[in-house]
Amino acid sequence: MPATDSGPILSVTGLSAWYGEAQVLREVSIEVGQGEIVTLVGRNGAGKTTLLRCLMGLQGRYSGGIAFLGSDIVRLPAHRRARMGLGYVPDDRGVYSTLTVEENLTLPPAAGPDPWPLARVYETFPRLKERRSFPGTKLSGGEQQMLALARVLRMGARLLLCDEPTEGLSPLIVGQIGDILREVKRQGTTVLLIEQNVHFAATVADRHYLLAEGRVVESLRNDEMREREHELLDYLGI
């Protein structure tokens, strides 16, 4: 794990979560250092999305510890967590059909030290500028994914929580998302990324956690991941 002088930006300890009586996370502990890109890898149903929902404060029933920027956030409601700098990019991209593209971008309040001005967003995502007065869901899947990413960058979020941003997108768009994540990292923003595409994960991330049946079964540095890519692909059944 890369040296961080100020401790991890996010530290999750003994996190368990339930839907009704069904337990889907079991004592999960992970850490994310300032400026890192860390992925959560695992089969469908492993509990990855649920983990992000817990971090965001959207999960109904869960227990355990979540420290963000050194303070315990378990008792904070979702909007307070967002304003501390958690930028949520949900698995369905969370684009509003009743909001225009620009409204989708400007809905969240600023939530970090350097929110991107709209001009920078449009410079980085020219397509969003062209379509800024369209309803959000009139965009293509790839454009909606860009919109969801652009939105949390505009917030100035310190830690992006991205749930399978590359799912179902063409290699070209996946490449663009990779570029954006690397740029985000260069500016010092941290990313926790859910990714089924192990190959893609290895091109952007510093470290990886492998999740299976609600447990962290392995924690790998990126070089270890690259060596074992084929084994892991088999394991994931992808």
Binding site: H79, G94, Y96, T98, L99, A111, M155
Partner: protein, 287 residues
Amino acid sequence: MLQQAFNGLVGGAFYALLALGLAVIFGMLGVVNFAHGAFYMLGAFGSYVLLDSFGVNFWAALVLVPLLLGLAGTVLERLFIRRLAPLDPLYNFLFTFGLALILQDLVKREYGVQSQPYPRPGLLSGTVDLGLFGYPAYQVFVLAVSVVVCAAVWVVLTRTRVGMIVRAATERPDLTRALGIDVGRWVTPVFGFGIALAGLAGVLAAPMRAVNPLMGADLIITVFAVVVIGGLGSIFGSVAAGFAIGLVSALGNLYVPALSQTLVFILMAAVLLWRPAGLFGREEALS
């Protein structure tokens, strides 16, 4: 026939006001407010009581009653709805349903089931010449108020930041919280506003419809159908469907009077078969 179409639009004016309130409340709170009809009834009774016991005229009631009921709505939301919200949605269904019965029975105990008279305001007692036919001025006024109120709500919803937040929270409440918006803070005023709209519809109804304790219960069933046809959670859909259903049922009444009561529900079934999420609803809103 044109005259009947106009009657339909006036009926639709009530549907639209009530459906608009129901839709914003459902969208933002996830609560199906079964007491909506009771607040409509209270709106009509409120203006009746103000006139009868305090000599407050229609115009003052038009402002005062929605204001008071809206205020009562915010208190209701704070004291009960909010506390029940984290539980199964069934609790708020039962609560608002029970509340409707209680309000109805309280009014019934005080005033009985017979209809109370409410005179048209003097200013609007005449008829307006609409070119092809003369039409009661009061009905024209009702239609105008409803259109203006719905349009004003539309402008606020589409042109202001508050409106943007309400739209976002109506479409995806959880996501909106996760994007840093304190949705809870907007819930109380939105609920109060929805109730105020029901009250306004009630005040408007008093001079042209029978003012009795059951007037809301009779109407609200149709309004639920309107909201479903428009698409649960779609604010625009509920208003559009309100006017459309008013029109369609008035014309239906003219051509197939036997179906006048059931037409709306046949229409609802047809729309749901064709588009399960309603005319303007989003499919994912169902899951």
